[in-house]
């Protein structure tokens, strides 16, 4: 027998006690949605997990109103110390239910259990612990004394790190004194709903966090809602762009964490074995469903062949399969749509003349899968070198000098992350200085920490999550009139309704809070 064909070691699903259907979590209770419910299923088996309520515009209204009430009556009046204690409670509850959350995450998302168990969920707890301690120390957040919370935060998160992205959003928002309406991704609502149960266990006051499930139109209605003072979004650059347009002309404060096409730069003096691991971790972690994935390998030409050979040999040891198996390295692609996109771009790579190599691995019969794949002979103009694939596909390009590496790395509208591999300290610092990316990993990749700011340059978005910067994104200086108050004031003056029309993010938004709307709207419509 082959020892490497370890017997299956699946994590038990017995730890889960899921309901057959989940409502929207509004005002501390699960309630029915007014939209048509949908199903969430396992991308590894395509089996149904649960039926999920669908929030329509009316539900968004209800959720935002609940958040506003909780903000006005409870949360904004509570001491920072007590807000912090709630967050500490949540952190502890996450730790207590860590395994359950990890299993649910792998089931719903398709990511390997070793990642949900060892990376996602521990970071979720860490994020709440970190921001819990900030709640009574806001004077030190960098905005001067007595900074103010913003009001109601609308938060829309993606499917690649469902619970982790929830923690990145909710923890700083609550620490700063805001209340929240959060919409998880349509394909991965499960852990957010388990998290709602945790909030009930924590006895968090009703309405402080509301979780509404649904598809893109739910998110668009939430972001567009007039009762919202802050918008935080993680997802694609296309949707981020639509959101930026939607909030144009409002007083909403926005944080966008969008796409990327990170360069992972390997110099010829790199610690080679660790660089190989870093390349693998950089692009194959979470099936490459990572906005900061090191999807462009820039390798010094002199070691190109050696690196590619080592990579292929290393990739051949990766184990693709059941996400709940503790030995699985590569799980399922999150959805049929995503698999379709990976296939399309990958085929485009071949059409454009790049050479495709995929690790030899058995693809399960059901579910959505993509074998770890490397493209060599990639040119900078190829689609696979420019567009975010968001899958386990690495494009290999070469460079000759540090300046060329920097130029190629920066030659993208994105600017989220980058990697540098070299033994030479002065080169690391100089290259890091010149990379136009919000996170630079030197001799490592894909590391995250609640104390470390994360976010992009250019079309990778704006604002930072994590650290003091991530807290400041949910605060305003004391001198400024709170956007929430001002928003309410404007509505009183203009007599406009607080309910927004449901609207898709891609459409041209209404601009209700702008006084000079007539001309603007007319001109805008011709755009």
């Amino acid at each position: 027998m082959s020892f490497l064909e370890y017997a299956p070691a699946p994590e038990s699903r017995a730890i889960l006690s899921l309901r057959d259907s989940y409502g929207l979590f509004i005002d501390g209770e699960f309630v029915d949605g007014h939209g048509t419910p949908f199903q969430t299923s396992s991308p590894a088996t395509e089996e149904r997990i649960a039926t999920i309520a669908n929030a329509n515009a009316a539900d968004v209204d209800i959720a935002v109103a609940a958040a506003r009430r909780a903000y006005d009556r409870t949360w904004s009046r509570m001491s920072g110390r007590d807000r912090g204690k709630y967050l500490f409670r949540i952190a502890r509850l996450v730790q207590e239910r860590a395994r359950e959350l990890a299993v649910a995450e792998s089931l719903d998302n398709g990511k390997p259990i070793k990642e949900s168990r060892d990376v996602d969920v521990p970071l979720v707890a860490a994020w709440f612990f970190y921001y819990a301690g900030w709640a009574d120390k806001l004077d030190h957040a960098g905005l001067g004394a007595n900074p103010r919370s913003l009001g109601v935060a609308a938060q829309v998160i993606p499917w690649n790190f469902p619970l982790l992205m929830l923690s990145w959003k909710i923890a700083p928002a609550l620490a700063a004194g805001n209340t929240v309406v959060l919409k998880p991704a349509e394909t991965t609502p499960l852990t957010a709903l388990l998290f709602a149960e945790i909030l009930q266990q924590a006895d968090l006051p009703p309405g402080v966090v509301n979780i509404i499930t649904g598809a893109g139109d739910t998110g668009a209605a939430l972001v567009a809602h007039e009762g919202v003072d802050k918008v935080a979004f993680t997802g694609s650059t296309a949707v981020g762009r639509a959101i930026a347009k939607q909030v144009a002309g409002t007083q909403k404060k926005v944080t966008l964490e969008l796409g990327g096409k990170a360069a992972n730069i390997v110099f010829d003096d790199a610690p080679i074995d660790q660089a190989i691991e870093g390349i693998v971790n950089g692009i194959f972690f979470n099936q490459g469903h990572v906005c900061c994935a090191g999807s462009r390998l820039l390798v010094q030409e002199s070691i190109h062949d050696e690196v590619v050979e080592r990579l292929k040999s290393r990739l051949s040891t990766l184990r693709l399969g059941d996400p709940l198996d503790k030995n699985t390295d590569i799980g399922a692609i999150n959805s049929a749509e995503q698999l379709e996109r990976i296939n399309e771009l990958s085929d485009a790579g071949v059409d454009e003349g790049a050479e495709r190599w995929s690790a030899p691995c058995e693809i399960p019969e059901n579910g959505f899968w993509y074998a770890p794949t490397i493209f060599t002979n990639v040119q900078t103009s190829n689609r696979i070198a420019r567009e975010e694939i968001f899958g386990p596909v690495l494009s290999v390009l070469t460079f000759r000098t540090p300046a060329e590496a920097i130029a190629k790395a920066n030659n993208t509208p994105y600017g989220l992350s980058a990697g540098i591999w070299t033994d030479k300290g002065s080169r690391i610092l100089a290259v890091a200085d010149q990379l136009r990316a919000g996170v630079v990993w030197a001799n490592t990749f894909n590391r995250f920490d609640p104390s470390s700011p994360f976010g992009g340059y250019k079309e990778s978005g704006y604002g930072r999550e994590g650290g003091r910067h991530g807290l400041a994104a949910y605060l305003a200086p004391s001198s400024a009139v709170s956007a929430g108050r001002a928003g309410a004031q404007r509505r009183l003056e203009t007599g406009e309704s607080t309910s927004a029309e449901p609207d898709t993010a891609a459409e041209r938004p209404a601009r209700p809070t702008r006084t000079r709307t007539t001309r603007a709207a007319k001109k805008g419509a011709a755009k």
Partner: protein, 286 residues
């Protein structure tokens, strides 16, 4: 016996040179009482385009200068402004119909703001940056870096102090600037450009356009090579359209400010046009 005065020709300031508008257009600048003061260049979209090219070319050098150097260069501007104080006071008196005292106060405030911002050049990174205590064997540091090319619609209701209040903070971190001056009070902006041209500010770091903000700003807002948009003085424009256009390339946008506190000096105006970069490195004795 009175001497016949020699009037100044006010042109644009792009890439360290003083070109006329490529369109050949000018517009009449009049005093508060309606008297003719000068023909200012009326910049076109192509002038805006040229200015962005000049600014982009200047970013690397300016951002790459040491913070100490940038601070000194910015302080030098204040020194030169002080030397030409009388000229600016007279210009403002003419243009705004201000009293000598009001004009002097505006010039003094503008100079003092340059000095204040100049002093931030080698400090803001310490205040806005962080060493991050991550849970692992890593050195981890966050530093603010310049966003790149910043397009500014200067406050429209003043000749100098509004302009300075918008331009100076963007320069502190190492951005290059394309600024659309006050349409009504453009002359001090060009005089300021003359100061910049004779200071140590590298060419292209500041580019000054005069003319119609309503005409030029949309081209800057939609320009893919502009990284950020300061709409501080765009309150009377269709600024929502500008913010909307800026969203196409996810530009950082500061919304309009009105009133006496518009563009008041704050650290926030510096950090608004910075990007926080976080660098991780492994650490080990082994």
């Amino acid at each position: 016996m009175s001497r016949l005065a020699v009037p100044k020709t006010y042109k644009l300031y792009i890439g360290g040179a003083f070109p006329r508008s490529e369109s050949g257009r000018t517009y009449e600048v009049v005093s508060a009482s309606g008297a003719f003061l000068a023909n200012a260049a009326k910049a076109s979209r192509k002038d805006a385009r040229d200015a962005v090219v000049a600014a982009r070319g200047a970013v690397a050098g300016w951002a790459g200068a040491t913070a100490y150097n940038r601070g000194q260069v910015l302080y030098r501007i204040a020194e030169l402004l002080e030397g030409r104080r009388a000229q600016f006071v007279a210009e403002i008196e003419d243009a705004e119909g201000a009293t000598r005292a009001q004009a002097s106060a505006q010039v003094d405030e503008a100079i003092d703001r340059w000095v204040w911002y100049a002093g931030w050049a080698d400090k803001f990174a310490q205040v806005a940056g962080n060493a991050n205590p991550v849970a692992g064997p890593y050195f981890n540091i966050s530093v603010p870096e310049p966003t790149g090319v910043v397009a500014i619609v200067a406050p429209q209701d003043s000749s100098l102090v509004g302009l300075v209040s918008a331009v100076a903070p963007a320069l502190v971190a190492g951005n290059a600037v394309v600024v659309v001056a006050s349409e009504r009070f453009p002359l001090s902006a060009i005089s300021l450009a003359e100061v910049l041209a004779t200071s140590d500010v590298p060419k292209g770091v500041v580019n000054v356009l005069t003319g119609s903000p309503a005409e030029i700003a949309p081209w800057l807002a939609s320009h893919a090579d502009v990284n950020a948009l300061d709409l501080v003085g765009a309150g009377e424009l269709d600024w929502v359209d500008l913010e909307f256009a800026a969203a196409d390339t996810l530009k950082r946008v500061l919304r309009p400010e009105q009133g006496p506190d518009a563009a008041a000096p704050t650290l926030d105006r510096i950090t608004a046009f910075t990007e926080t970069k976080t660098v991780w490195h492994t650490k080990s004795l082994k």
